[in-house]
């Protein structure tokens, strides 16, 4: 068996407390099974998701990052996700220019009622990350810093 077959990616999900976290909860209570590679970090709102957190996740060994929150118009704080969306549009361009793999950063809107969407999307991300393999470029940088 090659290492590609046994590679279990680490996927960090930054989710909002009000929609995606409850969507994940619904997936759980509905017994919808999704890959165990996911580590969920709950934050109050997508507007709280600092871009540094995404960088930090990669520094700490993430192979993919998911950022997810309420659908536009559904934000618990009225406009947090709109603000976040504008930031991500710009942030993606910056990562693109730096050559950081944008295929490893996923964004989605998943509501509290979308347990199935959550399950499907996580499956998709994990499969995609498995195909991409470990994020060695970033891991190499971190290894250098720690030695």
């Amino acid at each position: 068996m090659s290492s590609a077959d046994t590679f279990e990616p680490k996927v960090i999900a930054f989710v909002c407390n009000w929609c995606t976290y409850l969507g994940a909860d619904l997936a759980g209570t509905s017994r919808l099974e999704y890959p165990h590679n996911l580590r969920i970090i709950r934050l109050p709102c997508t507007g709280r998701i600092d871009f540094n957190l995404i960088i930090k996740a990669f520094e700490n060994g993430a192979d993919s990052v998911l950022v997810s929150g309420c659908h536009p118009g559904d934000c618990h704080y009225t406009s947090g996700n709109f603000h976040a969306r504008r930031r991500w549009i710009l942030f993606r361009e910056l990562l693109e220019a730096l050559g950081i793999d944008s295929q490893r950063i996923h964004f989605s809107w998943i509501s509290a009622a979308e347990g199935t969407k959550f399950q499907k999307f996580i499956k998709e991300i994990v499969e995609k990350t498995k195909a991409l393999g470990p994020y060695n470029e970033m891991k190499e940088i971190v290894r250098q810093a720690n030695t």
Binding site: F51, N52, I55, K56, E59, P72, G73, S79, F82, H83, R85, R86, R87, W88, I89, L90, F91, R92, E93, L94, E96, A97, L98, G99, I100, D101, S102, H106, F107, S108, W109, F121, E137, I141, V142, Q144, A145
Partner: protein
């Protein structure tokens, strides 16, 4: 009359009329180079210098506590620096009614004997948003270059090559934070890298820390950077930080039609939103 003399005269007038307590301008500094001088005595306005070596963006001094102590400022700006004032005003960092702005018509400045990159696409030879503008007697036509020309180099690379390029560049960063100190937009009292409870980013001068810092610095300027090039000029390692700023400036212009520093009566780009922002990358 030469522009420099006109400038000195105006500065003297302003100090004598007590419209300002201190003139922040260019002059000879101890090293023999042209740098910032702070003139409070009307008789000393003859020390003010204006030529193509006046690269510094003086608006960076407005935020400094020791300069604020000198009283009401009168600042001398080039077109590019005037844009920085506009952004500072939008962000409520300066009170334009309590200061005087003298703009000087500028046909390009030099940095290490070479004309600065920004000057090739300058569209503010005559500074906007000023109280007074000191014009030149002889005129020059505006340069025709494109602001984003330099980005072609990055566009021609694929993602891997870009990462390699930045690894090479950022490995030279020594974390001196000169880019931050010289940036007129970095006005926080305590910068987030200097906060250590909790530690937000890695402060070591390793590639990991350098990536984290340069991403942070660039992204905190998203939709705010006016492209004065002070960061690149200040970098002792010669990293072209402007590339990252330009990337974000281009993204702001393409996605939101927003160019920082052009208008004085708009909301900051990041800090507002539109329900119609594009979202094809969000699932």
């Amino acid at each position: 009359m030469p522009q420099q003399e006109k400038l000195q005269q105006k500065a003297k007038e302003i100090l004598l009329e007590k419209k300002a307590d201190v003139v922040i301008g260019y002059g000879k500094v101890e090293t023999g180079n042209i740098g910032a001088v702070f003139i409070t005595d009307p008789e000393r306005t003859g020390e003010l210098v204006w030529n193509n070596l006046c690269t510094t963006n003086l608006s960076v001094y407005l935020k400094r506590k020791e300069i604020k102590k000198l009283g009401k400022p009168c600042i001398i700006v080039k077109g590019c620096d005037a844009k920085a004032l506009a952004v500072l005003e939008i962000e409520n960092q300066i009170d334009r009614s309590a200061m005087t702005v003298i703009g000087v018509e500028c046909f390009g400045v030099q940095d290490r004997c070479e004309p600065q990159y920004k000057c090739a696409s300058c569209n503010v030879q005559l500074p906007p948003h000023c109280d007074f503008v000191i014009e030149r007697d002889t005129k020059q036509s505006a340069p025709q270059g494109s602001r984003y020309e330099k980005l072609e180099m990055l566009d021609n690379m694929d993602s891997k090559e870009r990462f390699e390029y930045w690894k090479q560049e950022l490995s030279r960063c020594i974390k001196c934070y000169a880019c931050r100190q010289n940036c007129p937009m970095c006005y926080c009292d305590v910068c987030v890298v200097d906060k250590n409870r909790p530690i937000r980013i890695d402060t070591s001068a390793t590639l990991k820390g350098n990536f984290a810092w340069n991403i942070l610095r660039a992204f905190h300027l998203a939709g705010r950077c006016v492209g004065c090039g002070a960061c690149s000029a200040a970098c002792p390692a010669g990293i072209d930080l402007d590339l990252l700023n330009l990337t974000l400036a281009k993204a702001s212009e393409e996605n939101f039609g927003y160019i920082a520093g052009v208008q004085r009566n708009v909301e900051p780009l990041v800090g507002t939103f539109s329900p119609d922002d594009k979202e094809e990358f969000i699932r």
